[in-house]
Homo-oligomer: 267 residues x 2
DNA sequence: CGACCCGTTGAGATCGTTCAAGTAACGTGG
DNA sequence: CCACGTTACTTGAACGATCTCAACGGGTCG
């Protein structure tokens, strides 16, 4: 049941460099028929209404949208991994969120607003693109819709707060452990039956650094010691959890909470 | 950030002098008239419907709600300042957001969910409390409501991403400058006419540290140098901006963006 | 087979923390 | 209105976590 399609195997034909640049020209995702390689309950991921011809396939390394663009549509991720990130003028980069299938991206903050962050495909990705007008119409038909949307956004905010706490108050070791644990549990929540303790994480050590507020050099050192301690083994984008209990401990997560993560079913 | 000696030895647990206690008695008392009084257009802040008897007044230092509580109502801040924060088990604290009048707090991430953060009144505060049931009913009456709510939440997420970028990728000096600039512009957006460059910020240096991921000692040093350089003067909760241009420069904010902040009218 | 990423390791510099000992403002009760 | 206790702010010295710079090794792909 392990999904080859989900693997970052064919990653980025040279799109990902040490300092990924902003993808200026945007992307030219071709329209695409409903996907293969999706998790079991694909339809559950369609929080948002389906738009005719709205599915797009985007290559790894490309941006789905970029900071400063005026918001004309919102995106519902159907498959693949996406990094939401911001840039400082001198090139420093912060990955603020990893979007997994089911995620909603690009919700406008007000009418005609510009997004204040960018979204980069980490793997090949399929998104459902819903123009704002379609969304507005759909929410008239289905009054519950925008409330579900609001809940999803509240979830995003909560996750952002959690991530922020990690960056602001945890040590490097704790941050890395916390991120790996988070990604592992979120990923696993998508295949509830699966008992594997190994997964493909389509991230370089530099991207882990960008997410945790560290340099890739230091991420490497932390990962090395975690490996020597036989807690986790992360190498060339494959993650193996060797000692879940100690990982939870290092991550500084309440075991209670950690277990609930293993249940939860949210993007 | 050493693992153990996190709590000042000798001090009884729960009596941490510097660490504000969760909830409990709270140091009610001081009120900060300047920053607390209701802005001109109070009604504009009622993004959410008014609930009969729903207005509550809360003393400075108290928690509006705490992590782990089951979510039964959402809050619309009418006046005063609120800190949204999280705690790690050993007492490390991260302030993830400062809520100003107009803010919506405590939106549930799913039915019957628990909030994953706490909210502490920094000044005396007035909030409108809207039970979930009332919200649901109101959103049936006013289909636009939940869409406006979703936009407000998207705004929260954007702000969280911005703050996270600051903590993860900026130097201490940049972080402090950025926070002061942000608070100043958000505050000023509430009194559009006002031309003052001085304001009361109801924060201690420790709270600034908790928001920026620094220790209060280092916050103090940064503020000292900013004062010596005649950029900003922050002393005993009063902020005076001496050199706006250089502050914008130090904060590493695009002047273009900074100016737009001075226009924007959002909590 | 040759490029090109990506990962690894060492040495030294730096930024921010920790610990410690003050001083200044505030608030309270006499 | 003053004395006192408390909280907030300030400063110095030493330490250490993380960064920077630099060189090299390993994997993968065209």
């Amino acid at each position: 049941m392990t999904r080859e399609a989900e693997r970052p195997s064919g990653v980025a034909p040279g799109e990902l460099s040490r300092r990924p640049k902003r993808d200026g020209d945007g992307n030219d995702g071709q329209t695409w028929a409903p996907a293969t390689g999706l998790p079991p309950s694909t339809d559950a991921y369609r929080l948002l209404p389906r738009h005719r011809k709205g599915d797009r396939k985007i290559a790894a390394g490309r941006d789905l949208f970029s900071i400063g663009e005026t918001n004309t549509a919102i995106f519902n991720l159907l498959s693949g991994w996406v990094a939401i990130y911001t840039l400082l003028e001198d090139g420093r980069r912060q990955i603020v969120h990893f979007a997994l299938p089911g995620a909603v991206m690009g919700m406008p903050t007000s009418k005609g607003a510009q997004v204040s962050y960018s979204a980069q495909a980490l793997t090949e990705v399929v998104v459902s693109v819903i123009p704002n007008s379609v969304l507005a119409a759909a929410s008239r038909d289905d009054p519950e819709l925008s409330m579900r949307l609001a809940s999803a956004l509240a979830r995003d905010t909560s996750m952002a707060y959690d991530h922020m706490t990690s960056i602001g108050r945890r040590t490097a070791r704790e941050r890395v452990a916390h991120l790996l644990l988070e990604l592992f549990t979120r990923y696993r929540a998508q295949w509830p039956g699966d008992r594997i303790e190994e997964m493909a994480i389509p991230l370089t050590q530099e991207q882990i650094g960008d997410a945790t507020g560290l340099t890739f050099v230091h991420v490497n050192r932390v990962l090395s010691t975690l490996r020597k301690e036989k807690i986790v083994h992360f190498h060339y984008r494959r993650l193996r959890i060797l000692d879940p209990d100690r990982l939870i401990e290092v991550a500084g997560v309440d075991p209670q909470t950690a277990m609930s993560w293993f249940q939860r079913r949210s993007p």
